[in-house]
Every structure is written in structure tokens, then in C-alpha cells.
């Protein structure tokens, strides 16, 4: 039943490639390939039960959608007729009780099918949701029975689609307006055994590539009935129980994909959709990612904005929320200090740092505070001189040293570029020398931070900025 529609899909896709504005049509083949393996328990296993090519065919064609809608319309009319007939018979009291029950069952079944059809039709319009929703065109109850067959089909299908994908990617990804810098690779943590990946011969595994939207999609499992999205398949199955007794059977609740047994498991590795990344298959020294979570974390860490900011230090940013949580556990507890002002959460890191650099030495947190107090107190009487220097437009080295110490004390804001912005030096009125003595230490920090300021700020006179602080 699968083979016929897949041909259709191919014929549909190939001519439409240049016209595709987003990559959806190319992308959705991958979960189907991947979900048949055991590697991704939370990644769309339920889809493996479905015959996906059918949904593919319905995908882009508006005529098909029109067909669907007409079909729905007819279906609704049918149900209307049935209900009308029930009402009529009730009026005449000629209805047998078992007959009535059968009628009711019919109505329920029809309505269910209408709802499903409606959702699936609507689903085609939502790019990232489509594959899961469309798969619902098949009856879930029948899915379990035909699973082995479909799995094997899916594998074949994936292969063919893979070819298409690799062809298409070149075109599609070039158009993608992603300009994020390639960050550090944190993936080693996730793919702990990625050494295995390296041992694999280039041809011995299958390379799959998820697309950006799919990686970033918050939910990957959707309820066939109500459309609610879930991050985990297990959660979805739990949710499904609420939709009827048929979802409460052990077969429906069982973790799918466990019994794939006898088939040859093809090793799958993943490629990052970001061209130029080492994890992208186009890269010369391509290092594949091992699992889908790896792909997600890698993509977010390396090619996405770091949108999660630590609420404690207000400086560290993360793109993966788990990283933020890990950081927050240790944030503010960096008790291992170096004389250069760097702090470490681990002692061995500090000692590695110290042994690496000449002149750096481990420092005492308490001793730092003491020296700070003494230094500032001794320096305070001379702050006028500093101010004079500053107002003259330069800082001598001693002052900078002194300011550095202050800077360390005032961390972490000192190191964070964000906080410099918060000084808000724009539009600064006049400032007179008389006020120099009244300057608070915040000014000194700002002065020291000057090298980090944007160029346009540098052009302003110091006097300007100071007077703003005072005003």
C-alpha cells in the first residue's frame, strides 16, 4: 500500500524543488527514517506505525486539499442524514434498542473520522507539525499490526529520500539566511562515545540531516485527536489514554519500536544543517552527531542565540536551558581565585591555569577582600589626582592597576559587556572639574571599562560622561 504513493511523492517533489520556499518537503522524511530505530525513543516512534508516504502525497497539493474538504462535506451530510433518521424514528417509536445503539456507534465513528480528517487537513498548513498530524490519517488501532512491514518500508523509503535530500540541501540551505557564528562545539559532552563515530568508516553509516525548524521545534509528538504537542512520546501516550479506552490497552501504551528484532540495524549518524560547521556533512573533516538530542544541543549551542541569561550573575548566557541550570548550580560559588582575577569553580582548573601562566598565583578570597579594603582606603585620599589625570584625558598605569582591583571587586558586572550598556552614556551634558572629588567609585569602573566601549563612545570627552553620572 505504501509503494504507490511514494512514487507519487517523488514525482510531486522533483518538479517543485526550485519553487520551495521552505524546506519542509525535504525535511520530513528524516524522522520517518530515524523513528524506526530504537535510538530515539522520544522522537516520533508512533509515526513508525503510520504509512507515511500517503501523507506525503497529500501534502502540497491544493487540489488534494479541496478533495479532502469535499469529502468532509459529504461525510458531514451523511452524519446529518443518520441523525435526522434517528430523530424521525424516535418520533415514531419504531426503533429497536440494538438498532439505536448501532446507529449511535456509526455516528461516533463518522464524527471521529471527520475530526481526524479535519485536523490532518489543517495540519498540512502548519509546516512543522505536518508529518505527525498527517500520519493520523491512518487508524492507530491498525498501526500496531502492520508495524514490521512498515518499518522495512520506511527504511527503503528513507534511502530514496536521502538521495533527494542530499540533492536538495545544496540549494535550500544556501538560501537560508542563518548568519550565526559557529561557536564552540560542546557536543563531546553529549556524544560521549563520538570516538566511535570517528571509527566508523565514512560509508558504513547513514547520514541524516534534520532541518533547522525541526531542530528548534518545541514539540515533536502530537496528539492525533486534539493536536496537543508533546516533547516525549511517553507523555503523548499517557495523554492519549484520556481519549478513549482503546488507547489504554497494553499494546497502545507499550513503548513502540522495542521489538524490531531481526532486522539489520543500519547505523545512523546525523549532520548539522549549518553549512560550514564541522558537523555538517559537507565539511571536509565531517564528524557526525550520534543522536538527535546531540543534534539539537549542538545546533542550539553553536548556531543559535544564547537567550537564557543566568539570573545570578547576569553575564553568562546559554542557548540550552540545561546548560543554564548546570551553571546556576555553581554560579557564585567560584571559590577558586587566581591572582589575575579569574575565578574557577574547580580547584584543579585553577591549578592548571596557574601552572600554565607565568606569574599567576592562586589567591585567597578573603585576602583579596582585605587588600581591597586597604588599597581603596589608601588610595582614596589621592582620588583627586586620579580624577585630574582622568580629566586630562588619560590614565596612567598606576591608576589602571588600582582600578583593576576595583574592577575585580565589582565583578561580575565588570566583565559583562551588557552592563556597560546599562551605564547609558548617551546624551551627556556638561561636567565641571569641581565635581571631581564627589565622584563615586562607579565612575572609576566606567573609566577603566573604556577600552571595551564602542567607538562612538570613545569620541566623547570624559567630562561629558562624568557629568551625566552626577546629574
Amino acid at each position: 500500500m505504501d509503494h504507490e504513493p511514494r512514487k507519487i511523492s517523488k514525482s510531486l517533489l522533483e518538479p517543485s524543488i526550485p519553487a520551495i520556499s521552505n524546506t519542509n518537503s525535504v525535511r520530513f522524511d528524516i524522522p520517518f527514517g530515524s523513528c524506526s530505530t530504537e535510538d530515539f525513543p522520544d522522537y516520533g516512534n508512533h509515526q513508525s506505525r503510520e504509512s507515511t508516504p500517503l501523507t506525503n502525497t497529500t501534502n502540497q497539493d491544493p487540489r488534494l486539499m479541496l478533495n479532502n474538504l469535499t469529502f468532509l462535506e459529504q461525510k458531514i451530510h451523511q452524519v446529518q442524514d443518520i441523525v435526522r433518521s434517528i430523530i424521525e424514528r424516535e418520533g415514531r417509536h419504531t426503533l429497536q434498542p440494538d438498532e439505536l445503539a448501532a446507529q449511535h456507534q456509526l455516528v461516533t465513528a463518522d464524527l471521529t473520522s471527520i475530526i481526524i480528517q479535519l485536523i490532518s487537513t489543517a495540519g498540512t498548513l502548519l509546516p512543522s507539525l505536518q508529518n505527525t498530524l498527517l500520519s493520523s490519517t491512518n487508524q492507530p488501532s491498525s498501526a500496531a499490526a502492520c508495524q514490521p512491514q512498515t518499518v522495512s518500508n520506511n527504511l527503503q523509503q528513507t534511502e530514496t529520500f536521502q538521495m533527494e535530500t542530499s540533492n536538495i540541501n545544496g540549494i535550500v540551505e544556501m538560501v537560508e539566511p542563518v548568519l550565526l557564528p559557529i561557536g564552540e562545539d560542546h557536543d563531546v559532552k553529549d556524544c560521549e562515545d563520538h570516538g566511535d563515530c570517528e571509527n566508523l568508516l565514512p560509508g558504513s553509516y547513514e547520514v541524516l540531516q534534520l532541518e533547522k525548524e525541526e531542530i528548534l521545534a518545541s514539540h515533536t509528538h502530537f496528539c492525533l485527536i486534539c493536536g496537543k504537542g508533546f516533547k516525549r512520546d511517553a507523555n503523548l501516550r499517557m495523554h492519549m489514554r484520556g481519549h478513549g479506552d482503546e488507547y489504554k490497552t497494553p499494546a497502545a501504551l507499550a513503548k513502540p519500536g522495542k521489538d524490531s528484532s531481526s532486522e539489520v540495524v543500519i547505523i545512523k549518524r546525523y549532520s548539522c544543517p549549518f553549512v560550514g560547521c564541522k558537523r555538517n556533512k559537507e565539511h571536509k573533516k565531517f564528524q557526525p552527531l550520534k543522536t538527535i538530542p546531540c543534534v539539537k544541543n549542538h545546533y542550539k549551542r553553536s548556531h543559535c542565540d544564547k537567550s537564557y541569561t543566568c539570573s545570578r550573575c547576569n553575564s553568562k548566557k546559554f542557548s540550552v536551558i540545561a546548560d543554564l541550570k548546570t551553571h546556576e548550580k555553581h554560579c557564585g560559588r567560584d571559590k577558586w581565585l587566581c591572582s589575575c582575577g579569574t575565578s574557577f569553580s574547580r580547584k584543579d582548573k585553577l591549578f592548571g591555569h596557574v601552572s600554565l601562566f607565568q606569574g599567576h598565583t592562586p589567591a585567597l578570597p578573603m585576602a583579596m577582600d582585605e587588600t581591597k579594603v586597604s588599597e581603596t582606603s589608601t588610595q582614596m585620599p589621592t582620588s583627586n589626582e586620579i580624577m585630574n589625570d582622568v580629566c586630562g584625558g588619560f590614565c596612567n598605569i598606576d591608576d589602571i592597576d588600582f582600578l583593576d582591583i576595583k574592577g575585580i571587586d565589582e565583578e561580575p558586572s565588570f566583565y559583562s559587556s551588557v552592563d556597560f550598556d546599562s551605564f547609558n552614556f548617551g546624551g551627556i551634558p556638561e561636567y565641571t572639574d569641581n565635581n571631581a572629588s564627589q565622584l563615586s567609585s562607579s565612575y572609576q569602573v566606567s573609566e577603566n571599562s573604556r577600552p571595551f566601549m564602542p567607538n562612538d563612545y570613545d569620541n566623547r570627552t570624559i567630562n561629558d560622561s562624568n557629568s551625566h553620572l552626577l546629574s
Binding site: K347, F351, G359, P362, A363, A367
Partner: protein, 701 residues
């Protein structure tokens, strides 16, 4: 040629060594000749009165006077400095080393001696910060605070700030010292070469790391028992202090992780890893560092190092000379085969077997020192094999090797004629016939320990042939009598130490023979030699160098005997008179008057009252007192004495007296740096040992 002095006939306080004519050459090339060197100080006094010839002394350049002072003993220097202002000043400028008895003296002393280089404060238990801030000479090179308390980071800041050229700092035992103090040291003492921070438990890796970075010229670092230091700190030290020669990591909780870095130190000569039980053989397996400079390796008490681990360490240390493996539970095998330069092995307390010892015998090293004390499994066969192969042995310690019989002694005496030190304590199977062999063959012996063997007078007679003998320990030899001691007294003129503990057969005759014969005697232990009377004390008073006298349990010795000995032996520093019930206040008064050098005294069970005890406060250097079961004492007398003895560092009292002394007084004395030790022992007659010592009696065992 300047003829400085010719003939003054006064009691000499300047003893110029050997020849009567001494030549001093100065930088300017002048040669000064002193004929018949006598008392310069007296010469000065007399010169002022009459002799124009001796005027030249004052005119002499200071460096020449310094050369003269260099040759004087401490006692003479005191006399010289007291003779006149000029010499007083010269002596003040000449002195380089200072060891004040009390910290309160320090300011005054420092203002006099301005060119001090080495300051030893080990006798000052309490050194407050203010002292370290005071006028310490800027040129100070070394300071020893190892037994001093009361100073903190602030004081050290003052010290290192003022004395920037400090090369050596010893703050061992500073359990309250921490990383802050280390920060100060690393910050100020940039030229530091030797740092000892033993027992500084507050010091962590951070402190050690700061020292390692700050004091990169370190040559010696002793971290013994610094329990806060781990591999990280040690590794950093090894990375940063490339000049290290001596590294003591005993009882530091390190593992084998830091050893690769340590063994890469180019100049490392001595490495102490005693009690590092974190080092196991697995971590030593991959060591491939070659540390060819290493001379001494101490792996004692490392219970997890097996011979495999030892092998992998010693593979790279081909120049090792000394190996200490005491109590390390390793089975010896071929681990020492390639250590051709090894000349000293200590295996005290190890379980050894015959084949292991034979492998030592088979190795091609020239062993000079072998210590097998308390080793299980030493047999006649294995020992004979070793000594047969290592005929150059100089020191042999087989204390408590109970399996040893006459056969071993025969082979030892046959092979090792160069022995200077032989310790046979508690080798009870040795027969009487063995001792004549020792006397016949080992004529070079200087140190002989025969405690608890069956030694008799014949044996002593034979041993007296070892004329170089300086230390003889024959305690618990119940068969010896005066006759044997008379031989010793006649022949062993160099004897400095004799131990006659519980050798009950001897009387005054024997002691007199020793005292008359061995005039250099410094230490004598007569504990529980119950036949000793005041006559022995009388004759011992001839030994003017006597410094340690133990007459514990000699109940016939009275105050009279003590008085004579204190008059004769002014150098006495240790005096143990426990259970000498005839000694009373009279004895104390004479001790207080004459024994101004006394440091340690035990007057338990003596018939002393408050007066006698209080008199002891007159002794300014008194450091420790043991006062148990003295019936005549009142709490107030005890309190007064403790308050009056300002230099006390340790007092042993019965626990019952604790409640009798005012708490504030105890606290006050503690704050001066004195430690109280409260003893629980009940009163006893003590004339017989409560237990017969099964193993060892002496400190060295």
C-alpha cells in the same frame, strides 16, 4: 708582623686551638701572630694600665678581631664581651647567630646585636606579632619559629617586609597557620630558599601554590603532615620551583598522581614520602621519569607500595644512595638490583624473608649502612649471607631480631671489621661467647648497644678493647658488675654516653672507675641502679662536660650528692631525680644556684617543699618540669613556681592537681606558650618495672 700579646697569666677564657701560635691573615694581606694566646680580655684591662705594647689591640682592624672571635667557644665569647666596652662592641657586631631564651629579651638583645643573620626562636614559645614587627635586622637570613606560637599573618608581614633577604623560614608546628600566612610569605620573601611548614594543618593547596609561585628559588620545602595539601599543590610546586633539592611530603595526603612532576625536578636530592599511604603501586606503574639527582628516598610507612612500585620508582633513580623502607610492608625482590650506588638501606619493621635479604646480598652495591631493627624473619642464614657479601658495612642495626644467635655474630665479626656502629639490643639468643668476638674483631666500634643481652664482665673486658667507643648502652645486663666497668673506665677514654639502666649489679666503685677514666662523659643513665650512693655523685662531679644525668630510682642518693654534682658539672641540662626520696630542698637550692643551664628536670616522688620548688624559678632557661606525687607541695607553692618560671614550655602534673590550681593561672601560663600534661598514673613504689620491657627500652629503638 704585629705582636699582639705576649704574656698574661690569668685563667684563660680564650682558648685558641691546638698550637700556641696562631696566624691570622686578613684581607689586606697583613699577618697577625698571637703568641701564647691567653686572655685577651684581661690583656685589654691590663694594657690600659701599663702596657703600651698592647695598645695595638684597639687599633687592630675589626676584621682581625672577628677572626680571633671566630675561634672562640661560646663561653669564652661571653667573657670577652664582658671585659671592656671595645670588645663588647666588637663582640656585638661579630655575632651572627642568636638563640634567645625568652621572647621578652628579644628587643633588648636585638638592639645590641645588629648584624645577626640567623635568629633561632625555638626557645621562645610565645612570639607575639609585635616582636616580629620590632627591630629585626634587615640583613636577617634565617628565622626559626618552629616552636613559637602567637604570631599571625600580620606579624609575618612585618617580618618579610623588613627582612627582604630572608633565605630560610621555619614555621613548623604552626597548626593555626593557614593560607593567609603563606600568602604573606610568598609575597614578601622572594629570595626564600628553605621553607619548613611541618604540621601546618591549615595550609592548603592554595597556600602551597602561592609559595610555589612567589618563592621560585626554593631549594628545600618541608610539608610534613600538612594534611590540607594534595596532589594539586605538590604538582604546582614541582612545576614552579625547579631548583628544589629537598622535598618532604611525609604524611601529606597525596597519591601517586603528583610523582611524575616531582621526579622531573632536575636537582632533587632528597624526597621524603613517609606515611603517604595514598601512593599505591598502581599509580607508580607508569612512572618513567628519570630523576638521576636523587640521593635519598624515604618510603617508610607507605603501606600500599609494593616491590613492583618500588621497582618503577628506582628504575629512574640510578644515583640513589639512601633508601628508607621502614614499615612499608613490601616484599623485597630484585627491586634494588640496579641501584649500584646505594649505600644505606633501612628496613626497620618490615617483614623480610630469606630470599629478599639474599637479593640485597647479591646486588652489586657497596652497602655501608643496614638497618633491620624489629624485622620479622631475619635469620642467621640470611644475615650471614648479607654481611659476607657486604664487608664494608659501617653501621649495622639488628635490634630486636630475636632469631639471631651466636652464628650471626660470628659471621658479622668475621666479615665486617670496619663496623663503627652495632646495635644488638634485645637479641637475647646471643651467647656469652659472642661478646669477646666483638671486642676482638670490631676495634673501630664507636656506638655499641647491648641492652638486654646476656653481657657479663668478661664480655665488657673484651669490648673495652674498642678504644674509640663513645656510646655504650648496656642497660638490663644484670650480669655485669664493677669489675667490667673498671675495664671500660680504663680503656675507653672517649666514652661520652653510657647507659646502665637497671644494671643492678654495679656500685659506686664501678661508677667511680667510669667517672675517673672517661672525663669526656656527657650522658650517664643510672636509673634504678639501686646500689648507687652519694659517692658516685662525688666522683661524677669530675666530669665537667656532663649534661644529662639520670638517677631515677637511686634512692640512696641524697641532697649532698646532688649538691656536689651541681657544683662540679655546670653544664647539666637534663636531670632526672624521680624517686630519689632523700633529695630535699637543700638539693634544689644548690641546683638553683649552680645549674644555670638546666633545661629539663624531673622531681617526682622527691621530698621537696614549696621552698625548694620555688628556688628552681631562679634557673632562667628551665623549659620542662615533671612534678608528680610530691607530697610536700602546696597548690600555692606550685602556682608561684609556675608563674615565676617564665620560660616553661612543658609541665607534667598529676591530674589531681588540676583542680587545685586556679584556672586563670593555668590559662595565663598556657598563654605564655606552656603546655600542661596531666598524668593519671597512681602512686607506686616503682622499684621494679611494672612490666618487663619486651622489646625496647631506648629512644632509638
Amino acid at each position: 708582623m704585629i705582636r699582639v700579646l705576649s704574656s698574661f697569666h690569668t685563667p684563660s677564657s680564650i682558648i685558641l686551638p691546638e698550637s700556641k701560635t696562631t696566624l691570622f691573615s686578613t684581607h689586606s694581606g697583613t699577618v697577625i701572630r698571637i703568641d701564647d694566646a691567653h686572655d685577651i680580655s684581661m690583656g685589654v684591662k691590663r694594657r690600659r694600665r701599663c702596657s703600651p705594647e698592647a695598645m695595638s689591640l684597639e687599633a687592630m682592624p675589626e676584621e682581625i678581631l672577628f677572626c680571633i672571635l671566630d675561634k672562640m667557644t661560646a663561653q669564652s665569647l661571653k667573657s670577652v664581651s664582658l671585659s671592656c666596652k671595645t670588645l663588647h662592641n666588637v663582640e656585638s657586631r661579630h655575632r651572627r647567630t642568636l638563640k634567645p631564651l625568652r621572647s621578652s629579651l628579644l628587643p633588648a638583645v636585638l638592639s645590641r646585636y645588629t648584624s645577626i643573620l640567623h635568629l633561632d626562636l625555638t626557645l621562645c614559645p610565645c612570639v607575639p606579632d609585635s616582636l616580629l614587627f620590632s627591630r629585626l635586622p634587615q640583613s636577617l637570613l634565617s628565622i626559626d619559629l618552629s616552636r613559637s606560637r602567637g604570631f599571625s599573618a600580620a606579624g609575618l608581614t612585618g617580618l618579610v617586609g623588613r627582612c627582604g633577604s630572608l633565605v630560610e623560614i621555619d614555621v613548623s608546628g604552626g597548626t593555626e597557620l593557614g593560607d593567609a600566612e603563606m600568602a604573606v610569605i610568598s609575597d614578601g620573601a622572594k629570595r626564600l630558599e628553605r621553607l619548613r611548614i611541618r604540621m601546618c594543618k591549615g595550609v592548603t593547596d592554595v597556600g602551597v601554590g602561592m609559595v610555589a609561585v612567589g618563592c621560585s628559588h626554593l631549594r628545600e620545602l618541608r610539608l610534613k603532615s600538612c594534611s590540607g595539601v594534595t596532589d594539586l599543590g605538590v604538582e604546582l610546586v614541582a612545576v614552579k620551583c625547579r631548583m628544589l633539592e629537598v622535598l618532604d611530603l611525609s604524611f601529606v595526603p597525596i597519591t601517586g598522581k603528583c610523582l611524575p612532576a616531582v621526579l622531573q625536578l632536575q636537582y632533587l636530592q632528597e624526597l621524603y614520602l613517609s606515611g603517604c599511604s595514598g601512593i599505591d603501586y598502581e599509580s607508580l606503574m607508569d612512572l618513567d621519569q628519570k630523576c638521576e639527582s636523587l640521593h635519598l628516598l624515604d618510603l617508610s610507612n607507605c603501606e600500599n607500595v609494593s616491590h613492583v612500585g618500588l621497582c618503577s620508582i628506582t628504575n629512574g633513580t640510578t644515583n640513589l644512595r639512601q633508601l628508607i623502607l621502614s614499615y612499608s610492608f613490601l616484599g623485597l625482590s630484585n627491586s634494588m638490583i640496579n641501584l649500584s650506588k646505594l649505600h644505606s638501606i633501612k628496613l626497620d619493621g618490615c617483614k623480610v624473608n630469606c630470599s629478599g635479604l639474599k637479593s640485597i646480598g647479591n646486588s652489586n652495591m657497596l652497602l655501608k649502612e643496614l638497618s633491620l631493627s624489629k624485622c620479622n624473619g631475619v635469620t642467621d642464614e640470611s644475615l650471614s649471607y648479607i654481611v659476607g657479601k657486604h664487608r664494608e658495612l659501617v653501621k649495622l642495626d639488628i635490634t630486636c631480631c630475636r632469631g639471631i644467635t651466636h652464628d650471626s655474630i660470628v659471621s658479622i665479626t668475621k666479615s665486617c671489621s670496619y663496623l663503627t656502629s652495632l646495635r644488638l639490643e634485645s637479641c637475647s639468643l646471643i651467647s656469652v661467647k659472642a661478646f669477646p668476638l666483638i671486642g676482638q674483631c670490631c676495634r673501630l666500634l664507636e656506638d655499641l648497644n647491648l641492652t638486654d643481652t646476656g653481657l657479663d664482665d668478661e664480655g665488657l673486658k673484651a669490648i673495652s678493647a674498642c678504644s674509640k667507643l663513645s656510646s655504650l648502652k648496656i642497660g638490663f645486663c644484670l650480669d655485669i658488675s664493677d669489675n667490667g666497668l673498671i675495664y671500660i673506665g680504663k680503656a675507653c677514654k672517649n666514652l661520652k654516653e653510657i647507659d646502665l639502666y637497671r644494671s643492678d649489679g654495679i656500685t659506686d666503685v664501678g661508677i667511680t672507675a667510669i667517672a675517673l677514666g672517661c672525663s669526656d662523659l656527657e650522658t650517664i643513665d643510672l636509673a634504678y641502679c639501686t646500689k648507687i650512693t652519694d659517692n658516685s655523685m662525688n666522683s661524677l662531679s669530675n666530669c665537667s662536660k656532663l649534661s644529662t644525668l639520670e638517677i631515677r630510682g637511686c634512692s640512696q642518693v641524697s641532697s649532698l650528692g646532688v649538691s656536689t654534682i651541681t657544683v662540679g658539672c655546670r653544664q647539666i641540662t637534663n636531670l632526672d631525680m624521680k624517686r630519689c626520696s632523700k633529695i630535699n630542698d637543700a638539693g634544689m637550692l644548690s641546683i638553683a644556684h649552680y645549674s644555670q643551664n638546666l633545661r629539663h628536670i624531673n622531681i617526682s616522688y622527691c621530698s621537696i617543699t614549696d621552698m625548694g620548688l620555688l628556688a628552681l624559678a631562679n634557673i632562667s632557661c628551665l623549659q620542662s618540669m615533671t612534678i608528680l606525687h610530691v607530697k610536700g607541695l602546696s597548690p600555692s607553692g606550685l602556682t608561684a613556681t609556675l608563674m615565676a618560671c617564665g620560660g616553661l614550655t612543658k609541665v607534667k602534673l598529676h591530674v589531681a592537681t588540676k583542680s587545685l590550681l586556679p584556672l586563670q593561672i593555668i590559662e595565663h601560663i598556657k598563654s605564655r606558650g606552656c603546655v600542661f600534661q596531666w598524668i593519671h598514673k597512681p602512686i607506686s613504689t616503682g622499684l621494679l618495672p611494672t612490666f618487663w620491657p619486651c622489646c625496647c627500652l631506648n629512644d632509638n629503638c
